[in-house]
Amino acid sequence: MMGHILRLSVWEWHKLRRRWLPWVLLGIVVILMQAAVWGAYVVHRTEPFSPNYSFSTSDEVEGEEVTLFAADWTCKDVRGDRIPPEVEDLEEELRGKVLESIEEFRESCAGYEEVRGFTGNALLLPNSILLAFTLLQGTLFILASIMAAAALGGEYGWGTLRTVLTKGTGRWQFLAAKVAALMFTALVGLALAAASVALSSLAIGAFGLEGAALQGSAEWLDVPIKIGTLLYSFLPYVMLALLATVLTSSTALGITAFVVYYVVESTASPILNNFAWFQRVSEYLLSPNVTAVLQASYGEVSVSIDGGGDAAQPELLHAVLVLAGYILVFGVLTFLLFQRRDITGAKGG
């Protein structure tokens, strides 16, 4: 039986990789991840958010106000022991006054330098991979669910379910193979996306990252853990997309039903969290528990993606069990519905 499902999974994977959609979705993921990493690098390099300091001193000469020295500096100009070159040529008294101001400004830059050091570290391997996955996880859920709905919805649309099932393929075995192939495809996609981020990170490292440590502070082991938790978090969404597709026998309606649920839950939950009565309910919703599972695998790259509201994050074990519950409920409903429904000809969409 397991051998049969494995064989079906391998052939489902063959079918999936010959479609355009997984490659298009992979392209979107890679582009977004590259945009995230290179965007973070440009911000790190150009420092558009650096605090500014304006220095100006003047004297009265023959009744007129004359500017003796004026300059605008950012934290970059005074970083470490650096002294702006224009200060070197000043008279000693004025120079001493300016250096005193620079020292005060340098102290006020400390907080910014700490954040900058962190973003620099986040661009180094393996932190950059974790950063990219963390920033894009919401998008990844949506893309994985689109792929799931399209993989099953296509069978309804083309009418190929009938062709598959009349060759002695059991319904639940076929669906199990579909889920396995989808998760394997997602794994390959995440691995390829991670590899693309790694290449960019190596290039960024070669350009030099001022203010960053030589090596990221996360462990390489955090990457497979992150991918594993992402895949686990995908599963309830994938099963939800499959359930919606089996219910509607259509890719488009399956994706729509999933997106509506995802958007409603993600937007309504933070608002409703402001009401005490809702916070107990919130502990059992999908998105807070997915967030809790994913935050446990951030490593050192802790970017908050909390939806807001005052609700406390569920405990990790609680979150893992709630997700397992969702996977089970959506999975059982999908399998039962798929098992019992009559299979008709092509639906065409």
């Binding site: 079906l8 009938r162 062709t163 598959v164 009349t166 002695g168 299979i343």
Partner: protein, 304 residues
């Protein structure tokens, strides 16, 4: 050799809300035949095939394939089928589609794919995308798919649909050659002349009910048709209708059509002579399955 009937149904029924698509169908299909399933549109042919292939859940009743009621998957692995228009993955080529189905079946070789493509006349188009195929080519690929794994039972639903006359003749010959001692073909078609040429036995459905079953020869036995013109057609029809071995005699467009065994044409002539009615023209022959089908299904319709 296994002597179990390949298909046996008992009271098989499918209801869609208020519509009774198949009504208590009981039939037995013996091994090694080309078996025809006939019926007007909406008579329940495709629903019956769907139930036997596990695509449609029966509302009530039961059936067995190869004598087994329990292990449907194992039974279906001995079956090949085309239901309505064959459907395949449009982004794969014909050969890749067959390779996929061969792969999930878990048996067969690349050589088998070549042979099948050759057998159905798609050898030179096997590497083209399925989305480029005409309806006739889809039917051919469907037949190749149905033959994957050398099945013992073939379900073919309108297999010549969309084919040109030469392709239809070729397909008929192929189907005829497939119904051998070890293999049974369960064919549904609305082309009655096709069924008459190809099938050994037929079942006729009307409004989901079985209304006739038997070999083509049995069903048409005694159903000859004699066509004649006389010096007094009205009187001729009256005289002939009174004979107990004549089933029917009616006039249409200046011709008397007599339903009677064709070998009794001489007795028709004699009976008319006795009544001083003289023949000006007479032809006789076996009734066609088409006439029989139209008659029996219209009678069934009128009875309801």
């Amino acid at each position: 050799m296994d002597t179990n009937p390949v298909i046996q149904t008992e009271g098989l029924t499918k209801r869609y809300g208020k519509i009774l698509a198949v009504d208590g169908l009981s039939l037995t299909v013996p091994r090694g035949h080309v078996f025809g399933l006939l019926g007007p549109n909406g008579s329940g042919k495709t629903t019956t095939m769907g139930m036997l292939l596990g695509l449609v859940r029966p509302t009530s009743g039961s059936f067995s394939l190869f004598g087994s009621r329990s292990d449907r998957q194992a039974s279906l692995r001995r079956v090949g089928a085309i239901v309505e228009t064959p459907t395949f993955y449009p982004y794969l080529t014909g050969r890749q589609n067959l390779a996929y189905f061969q792969g999930i079946l878990g048996r067969g070789t690349a050589r088998e794919l070549d042979d099948l493509l050759e057998q159905v006349g798609l050898a030179d188009r096997g590497n083209d995308g399925f989305h480029t195929y005409s309806l006739g080519m889809k039917q051919r690929l469907g037949l190749a798919y149905a033959l994957l794994g050398d099945p013992e039972l073939l379900f073919l639903d309108e297999p010549t649909n969309g084919m040109d006359p030469a392709g239809m003749a070729e397909m008929r010959e192929l189907i005829r050659s497939l119904g051998t001692e070890d293999r049974t073909v369960f064919l549904s078609s609305h082309l009655l002349n096709e069924v008459e040429q190809v099938c050994d036995s037929v079942v006729i459905l009307s409004k989901g009910k079985l209304i006739a079953q038997g070999s083509v020869a049995e069903l048409l036995k005694g159903r000859g048709r004699i066509r004649l013109r006389t010096t007094d057609n009205a009187q001729a029809a009256t005289v002939l209708a009174a004979l107990d071995w004549v089933e029917d005699a009616k006039i249409d467009n200046g011709t008397v059509f007599v339903t009677a065994p064709p070998e009794r044409a001489a007795e028709v002539s004699a009976a008319l002579s006795r009544a001083e009615i003289y023949l000006t023209e007479m032809t006789s022959g076996q009734d066609s399955l088409e006439n029989y089908f139209l008659e029996i299904t219209s009678e069934e319709g009128a009875a309801q």
